[in-house]
C-alpha cells in the first residue's frame, strides 16, 4: 500500500474538526479519524514494497524525490504514533471540557499526529524535513494552546525558537548531503563513501536532533512546554516530537559510526541524562518533574546510540512511550482532582485505587523493575554500557536518582489531605471521567504486556537483541528498592512535613540539582548578546539614515524657498528677467 495514505484519515479528521468547531461531534470525529489511521497503519505491516518514491519536481536534470519507507524501523515508529494517537485523543475527550476550544484543539492535535506519522514513514531527508517542520509548528501551536495563560505563549516561543535553530541546521545538512550524493534517500546516503562536506552535515544533523529531542544545551524548552494541555504533554513526550531526534540519529547510526562521530552523541547523552535526573529530583511541578525525566530518558537513548548499541536504544525508545504516556495521563488526573499543578499541594492520589495502581505500574516501569516493560529498556542501555566502566558508573548513579525522583513523584501526591479539603479532593478523583480512565488502564496494561516486545521487536527489526545482565539487574533492583525506602521515609511517612522542612534547611545542597537555572541564564545571556549587537547596528543605521534625511528635508526646504519666486505674478517675473539680463550684461562687460 502507498505509505502516505496512512496520514489521509487524520488530515481529513483535522480539517473536519476545524469545520465542526464547537459542536459535540468534533471529538468523536477526531477520535474516529485517528482509529482509522491506526487500522491503516496495521494493515501496512505486511507491505512488500518498503521503499516508495515519488518524484516531486526536477531541476537541471536532477530529480527531487519524496522518499517514503515502510522498512521495519519506520513501521515501528508509525505503529507507536498511530497507536498512541487514539489513546491521547480519547483521553482528551475527558480532559478538554470547553467545547469552544474543541475545533482548534483537535485540528492541531491531528495535524501534530499526522506530521509525526509523515516523519515516521519518511525514507529520505526531504520528506523527513517536511514532517519535521510541521511537527515544530504544530507543537508551537499546541504548547501555546491556552494563549490566555501567563506563561504559555512565552513557553511556546521558547520551544519554537530553539527548534528553529535545529530546523535550519537540518535544512543546511540536507542540502549539503544532496550536493555530495544527489539524493535525499537514507538508503543511498548510507551506501556511499566518505565526503568532506558530510562531516559538517552530520554535525548539523546532530544539532537538529538535539534541539528536537531536548538535549543539552537545547533542553530547556521541554520543561516549559508543560504549559500546554496535559494530553499534549502526554503525546509530545511519549511518541511524537522529542522522539524525532533520537529516531533520526538511530536511522543514520551506521554513518555516524563510520565517520567516528559517536563520541559527541555519547557525551551529550550523558550530560542530558544527569541534568534530567537531577532536576527531576527537585522540581515540585507535577508535570515538569516528568518533563525532566523525559530529558533523562532521551539522554539514555543517546547514550545507547553513542555506544553504537542500536538495539538497546530502540528498546528503550519503545518502552518509554508507554510508561511516559501513562504517567502524564495520571498527572492529568491528579491535576484535575486537585486543581493545581504543584506537587506539594496535591493529595490523596491513593484514594482512587485503580488509578493509583496504574500510576504504580507506570512508576515501577520507569524505575526499571522486573518484569515491567521499562525494565527491558533501561537494562538494555545499562547492558550496552558494561564495556565502558565510566558510563556504567554514571548510569548506576542515574538509576538511583531515577528511583528517588519517581517515587517522590508518586508519594507526595499520595499523602493524606488535610481534613478540610480531603472530601473535595477525593470527590475530584471519583469525578475523573471514564474517557480519561480508559486510556490510562489501556496504557497500564500495555506497560506490562510490552515486555513481550523484548523478544519480538529485535526479530522484526532484524537487529540483535540487547543483552541483559542478571548481575546488573540485581544491582539496579537493589538501588531502586533503596530509593523506594528512602523516598517513603522522606515523603510518605508521617514525618514528611518535618523532613521537607529539614531538607529546606539544607537548601544549598540542592543547588547542583537545580542546574537548569544556569542553562536558562545562559540562554538569556546569548539573547542579550544578540540584543547588544542589534543595538549597535541599529544606532549606526539610525545615524546614517538621519544624515540622508537631512539631505531630503533640505531639498524640501529649498523647494519651498524657490516656490516663493514662482508666484505667477508677471510683474515679478519681468523684474527678475530685467535684473537677470542686466546682471549678465554687466558680467560679460567686465570680462
Amino acid at each position: 500500500m502507498f505509505a502516505p495514505i496512512v496520514i489521509v484519515p487524520m488530515l481529513i479528521g483535522a480539517f473536519a474538526s476545524l469545520a465542526l468547531g464547537s459542536r459535540g461531534s468534533t471529538k468523536y470525529v477526531a477520535l474516529a479519524a485517528s482509529i482509522v489511521s491506526f487500522a491503516l497503519a496495521l494493515s501496512m505491516l505486511g507491505t512488500q514494497q518498503q521503499a516508495q518514491d515519488v518524484n516531486w519536481f526536477a531541476f537541471a536534470g536532477n530529480a527531487f524525490v519524496l522518499n517514503f519507507s515502510l522498512a521495519p524501523i519506520h513501521m515501528l515508529l508509525l505503529l507507536i504514533v498511530a497507536g498512541v494517537t487514539p489513546l491521547v485523543l480519547g483521553y482528551s475527550i475527558g480532559f478538554m471540557r470547553l467545547p469552544s476550544e474543541h475545533g482548534r484543539y483537535y485540528f492541531e492535535m491531528l495535524l501534530f499526529a499526522s506530521s509525526m506519522a509523515l516523519f515516521a514513514i519518511s525514507g529520505g531527508f526531504l520528506t523527513m524535513f517536511i514532517g519535521w517542520e510541521l511537527l515544530g509548528v504544530t507543537s508551537y501551536l499546541l504548547i501555546g494552546f491556552w494563549y490566555g495563560k501567563e506563561a504559555a505563549p512565552t513557553a511556546a516561543r521558547k520551544a519554537i525558537t530553539t527548534i528553529l535553530i535545529g530546523d535550519l541546521a537540518m535544512f543546511g545538512a540536507m542540502l549539503l548531503l544532496w550536493t555530495a550524493y544527489h539524493s535525499f534517500s537514507f538508503a543511498v546516503i548510507q551506501g556511499v563513501q566518505h565526503s568532506a562536506a558530510a562531516t559538517v552535515a552530520l554535525s548539523l544533523i546532530l544539532v537538529a536532533a538535539f534541539t528536537k529531542s531536548a538535549q543539552f544545551p537545547f533542553n530547556e524548552w521541554l520543561p516549559d512546554a508543560m504549559e500546554g494541555p496535559t494530553p499534549v504533554s502526554a503525546f509530545l513526550h511519549s511518541s511524537t516530537m522529542v522522539k524525532a531526534g533520537v529516531f533520526m540519529i538511530a536511522i543514520l547510526l551506521p554513518i555516524y559510526a563510520g565517520y567516528g562521530m559517536l563520541l559527541p552523541i555519547l557525551a551529550i547523552g550523558i550530560v542530558s541524562t544527569v541534568i534530567g535526573a537531577t532536576n527531576a529530583l527537585v522540581s515540585t511541578h507535577i508535570k515538569r518533574a516528568l518533563a525532566y525525566s523525559t530529558i533523562e530518558d532521551l539522554g539514555l537513548m543517546f547514550i545507547a546510540l553513542g555506544l553504537n548499541a542500536l538495539g538497546a536504544a530502540i528498546m528503550l525508545f519503545i518502552m518509554q512511550t508507554f510508561y511516559k504516556a501513562l504517567l502524564f495521563m495520571n498527572a492529568g488526573a491528579i491535576i484535575k482532582s486537585n486543581n493545581t499543578e504543584e506537587m506539594w499541594r496535591s493529595y490523596e492520589s491513593a484514594s482512587h485505587r485503580p488509578l493509583f495502581i496504574a500510576s504504580v505500574i507506570g512508576v515501577l516501569s520507569l524505575a526499571g523493575v522486573f518484569p515491567l516493560s521499562g525494565f527491558f529498556g533501561k537494562q538494555a542501555v545499562e547492558g550496552a554500557s558494561v564495556s565502558a566502566p565510566l558510563v556504567y558508573a554514571i548510569l548506576v548513579i542515574v538509576q538511583l536518582l531515577t528511583g528517588l525522583y519517581i517515587f517522590r513523584w508518586l508519594l507526595i501526591p499520595a499523602r493524606r489531605a488535610p481534613d478540610n479539603i480531603a472530601p473535595k479532593v477525593r470527590g475530584g478523583y471519583r469525578a475523573v471521567s471514564i474517557a480519561m480512565k480508559i486510556p490510562i488502564y489501556v496504557l497500564a496494561a500495555i506497560a506490562v504486556a510490552a515486555s513481550a516486545l523484548y523478544l519480538l521487536a529485535p526479530a522484526y527489526l532484524g537487529i540483535s537483541a540487547p543483552q541483559i545482565n542478571v548481575a546488573d539487574a540485581a544491582v539496579a533492583f537493589a538501588l531502586t528498592l533503596a530509593a523506594l525506602v528512602a523516598s517513603y521515609y522522606v515523603y510518605a511517612s508521617r514525618s514528611a512535613i518535618k523532613a521537607a522542612q529539614a531538607l529546606r534547611r539544607y537548601r544549598s545542597l540542592s543547588v547542583p540539582l537545580y542546574n537548569s537555572i544556569f542553562i536558562n541564564r545562559a540562554y538569556l545571556a546569548i539573547a542579550a548578546a544578540f540584543g547588544a549587537i542589534a543595538y549597535v547596528v541599529d544606532r549606526f543605521d539610525y545615524w546614517a539614515y538621519s544624515r540622508v534625511r537631512v539631505v531630503s528635508s533640505s531639498l524640501i526646504e529649498m523647494g519651498r524657498a524657490t516656490s516663493r519666486i514662482e508666484s505667477g505674478n508677471v510683474t515679478t517675473y519681468a523684474a527678475i528677467f530685467v535684473g537677470g539680463i542686466t546682471a549678465l550684461i554687466i558680467i560679460f562687460g567686465l570680462l
Partner: protein, 468 residues
C-alpha cells in the same frame, strides 16, 4: 493570437478609463485590469506548460533608426516575475486603499504602476526597460507622496533621490552598452550574445554602474536608507507594491546583469559577501524595531540579501532559485504588509509595545501573520521552501559550506517574528480594542496570496519544468 501586447494594452486602456469615468468606478476598473492581467499571465503559464517551454515575443518598432521599439520577450524568468507582479497588484487592487477615500488617485497609480511593471518584465529592449523603470518609480513616488501617512513627504523625497540616482546610473550604463556593442543595439538578447566583445575596462564600468543602480533598488546595505521610511509611510497598497514588485525590478536587473555579462562572475565572491552582510545587517536592525510595518520593511532587505546571494552563485540553481525566491518573497511580503495594514485598520495601531492579543478581535489576520511568517522563513509547502532549496544548493556549489551562512539571518528573522507574534498577537492576557473591521477585500487578498504561495510551494514543477 499573441497575449503579450494585450497584457500591456489592458492597463493602458484602464488608465484612460479611470481618468474619464466617475470616481466610484475606479476601484472596479483597477481590480478588473489587474485581475485580467493576472489571468493572462496564468494563461501564459498554461500555454508554456503546453508547449514545454516559455517563449513568447512580439516586436513593434518605434524609432527604428536607433533600434528603439516596444520589443516584448517573455522567457521563464520574465514569466515568473510577471506572475508575481500581477498577483501582488491584483491583491493590492482588491484590498483597496483602506487608509482614505482617494479611490481615483490610488487606482490610477496602481494601474500606472501595473503598466510599468508588466512592461518592464516583458521588455526585450533596454531602452524601453529604462522607460518603464522610471514610470514605475514615479508612480510609486506619487503613491507615497500623496497617499501615505504623516511623514510621507520626506519619505517620498528620500525614495526619489535614491531611485533617480539609480535611474541616472542605469541610463548611463545603457548608453555605454549601446555605443560599445559591435552593432549599436538596445536589444537584450543581442547584448547578451555580444557582451563579451565589449572591452574589459568598459565592461567593468558598465558592471559597476548597473550593479549600483540595481543594488539601490533592491536594496542592499549600504544603499537601503530609502526603504524603511518609504515602506512604513506608504499606504498599505503602496507597501505591498514597493516590497512585492518594485524591489523585484532591481532583482530582475541583477539577474540580467549576472546572466548577460560574463565579467560579473569575477565579482561573484565579493557580491556574495556583500549580500550576506546586507542580510545580517538588516536582521540586526530589524531586531530593534517596534513598528510591525518597519519590521516587515527590514525583512525585505534580509530577503533581498538572500536573493542576491543566490544570484551571486552564478549557476543554474542560484539564478533560477533567486527568480523563484522573487516570486515567493513577493507573494509572502505582500501578504504580510496586507496583514499589517489590516492590523492598523482594525486596531489603529502598529506598535508591538501597544498592540495586544490581536487574535481576540482579528483572528484571521493574526493567523495570516503567522502563516506569512512561515512563508517568509521557508516553511515546506510555501514557495519560499522551493526557492531556498535551489538558492542554497547553488550557494553550496559555488561557495561550499560557507554558502549556508545566510541561513543564520533567516533563523534570526524567524526568531524575531515569533517574538512579535508572542508579544502582540497570540497572547491574550489583555486585548487591544478595535476601531475598524476586516473587509471582504482584505480577505480576498489573503486568499489569493495564500493560494498562490501554496500552489507554487506544492507544485514547483509547473515552473521548474519549463527551464531548459
Amino acid at each position: 493570437m499573441n497575449i503579450l501586447p494585450i497584457i500591456i494594452a489592458i492597463p493602458a486602456i484602464a488608465l484612460v478609463l479611470i481618468a474619464l469615468l466617475k470616481e466610484r468606478h475606479s476601484k472596479l476598473i483597477s481590480t478588473a485590469s489587474t485581475g485580467i492581467v493576472l489571468a493572462l499571465s496564468i494563461a501564459l503559464l498554461a500555454l508554456s506548460i503546453q508547449a514545454g517551454k516559455a517563449s513568447f515575443s512580439q516586436q513593434y518598432s518605434y524609432i527604428g533608426s536607433l533600434g528603439i521599439g516596444l520589443d516584448l520577450n517573455v522567457g521563464i524568468i520574465q514569466l515568473i516575475l510577471l506572475l508575481v507582479s500581477s498577483a501582488v497588484l491584483f491583491a493590492a487592487a482588491m484590498s483597496g486603499n483602506t487608509e482614505d477615500e482617494k479611490h481615483r488617485l490610488s487606482s490610477f497609480l496602481v494601474v500606472l504602476f501595473q503598466l510599468a511593471s508588466v512592461g518592464l518584465f516583458s521588455s526585450a529592449n533596454f531602452f524601453i526597460f529604462f522607460i518603464f523603470w522610471d514610470v514605475g518609480v514615479v508612480a510609486l513616488f506619487f503613491m507615497i507622496n500623496t497617499l501615505g501617512s504623516a511623514n510621507r513627504k520626506i519619505a517620498s523625497i528620500n525614495f526619489l533621490i535614491y531611485e533617480l540616482f539609480a535611474s541616472a546610473l542605469l541610463l548611463l550604463a545603457i548608453l555605454l552598452i549601446y555605443f560599445y556593442t559591435p552593432v549599436n543595439s538596445f536589444d537584450l538578447s543581442y547584448i547578451a550574445a555580444h557582451a563579451g566583445l565589449i572591452p574589459a575596462n568598459i565592461q567593468m564600468i558598465i558592471f559597476a554602474l548597473l550593479f549600483v543602480a540595481f543594488m539601490i533598488n533592491m536594496p542592499l546595505f549600504p544603499t537601503h536608507f530609502w526603504l524603511p521610511d518609504a515602506h512604513t509611510e506608504a499606504s498599505t497598497q503602496g507597501s505591498m507594491l514597493l516590497s512585492g514588485v518594485l524591489t523585484k525590478y532591481g532583482g530582475y536587473g541583477m539577474l540580467l546583469l549576472f546572466t548577460m555579462f560574463p565579467i560579473s562572475a569575477q565579482f561573484s565572491k565579493y557580491v556574495a559577501v556583500l549580500a550576506a552582510a546586507s542580510a545580517f545587517y538588516a536582521v540586526f536592525v530589524l531586531m530593534r524595531q517596534t513598528d510591525v510595518k518597519r519590521i516587515i520593511a527590514y525583512s525585505t532587505i534580509v530577503e533581498m540579501g538572500i536573493i542576491m546571494f543566490g544570484i551571486s552563485a552564478v549557476n543554474n540553481y542560484g539564478i533560477y532559485g533567486s527568480a523563484y525566491a522573487m516570486l515567493s518573497h513577493g507573494l509572502a511580503v505582500a501578504l504580510m504588509f496586507l496583514a499589517v495594514g489590516v492590523l492598523k485598520h482594525v486596531f489603529g495601531e502598529r506598535d508591538i509595545r501597544v498592540l495586544k492579543g490581536t487574535v481576540v478581535n482579528a483572528r484571521s489576520t493574526t493567523y495570516i501573520f503567522l502563516v506569512g511568517t512561515l512563508a517568509m522563513i521557508g516553511f515546506p509547502f510555501s514557495a519560499t521552501f522551493i526557492a531556498d532549496i535551489l538558492i542554497f544548493l547553488g550557494a553550496i556549489q559555488a561557495f561550499g559550506v560557507y554558502g549556508l551562512i545566510p541561513l543564520g539571518a533567516i533563523a534570526m528573522l524567524g526568531a524575531y517574528l515569533y517574538f512579535v507574534i508572542n508579544k502582540s498577537m497570540l497572547s491574550t492576557k489583555e486585548a487591544s480594542s478595535t476601531v475598524g473591521a476586516t473587509t471582504m477585500g482584505h480577505r480576498l487578498g489573503y486568499a489569493l496570496l495564500l493560494l498562490l504561495i501554496f500552489a507554487f510551494g506544492t507544485m514547483p514543477f509547473l515552473l521548474l519544468n519549463l527551464i531548459r
